[in-house]
Symmetry: C2
Subunit: 118 residues, 2 copies
């Protein structure tokens, strides 16, 4: 998983290092799929900030194993965590990972404004 504390200035402010770009590319790869993006948004926007598979399957015309596979990719990337409680695994996003990705993509003008205000 990416060392998010160390990563990264907005890419419009300074070039990413090779190491940073390798770590970030893994996260973007995990998000480079429509089903995984919808799963991520369903989990992140669900009441209480968490969702179980039982909350997620109705949104898709996909089998349980396929959804589980996509959830596994999201977990392995570090974008979400899963915690078993009773029958179900409950998923949450890692808000700090989303926040860092969001910050990396802030475009030039906003990145410059951030420097000025710092």
């Amino acid at each position: 998983m990416i060392a998010m504390d160390a990563c990264c200035s907005p890419l419009a402010r300074e070039p990413l290092s090779e190491e940073q770009s390798v770590e970030l590319a893994k996260l973007f790869k995990a998000m480079a799929d429509p089903v995984r993006l919808r799963l991520l948004s369903l989990i992140a926007s669900h009441a209480g900030g968490e969702a179980c598979v039982c909350d997620l399957t109705d949104a898709f015309d996909l089998t349980g194993p396929t959804i589980s596979h996509h959830l596994k990719v999201l977990r392995e990337s570090g974008l979400i965590t899963g915690e078993r409680r009773g029958t179900w695994v409950y998923y949450r996003v890692h808000p700090e990972v989303l926040a860092r990705l969001s910050a990396v993509l802030v475009p030039g003008d906003a990145a410059a404004a951030e420097v000025v205000s710092a």
Copy 2:
């Protein structure tokens, strides 16, 4: 290219539609590669907000055609534009595309704060 005007609320605020997720996944796929991420950051952070291939090749131990291929993927995704002037093609990022991606990834707390302040 994605209809960025219509897309998207922060994914922590409401689930993405199927159509939105398909369009966003294309952009994340274009960024799901370390070389393309570094190219994007080199272009976005370059003096004047633009860079030609002549500014980019030294950062990589890659052939010209390989770099051109990655630039083509970035162009076709809509993340960058290229404009020929004289000998070189000059590349710029689309700041509004980066801004929208950044806004989609804003995590739960920040998304909620945005609603409150709106």
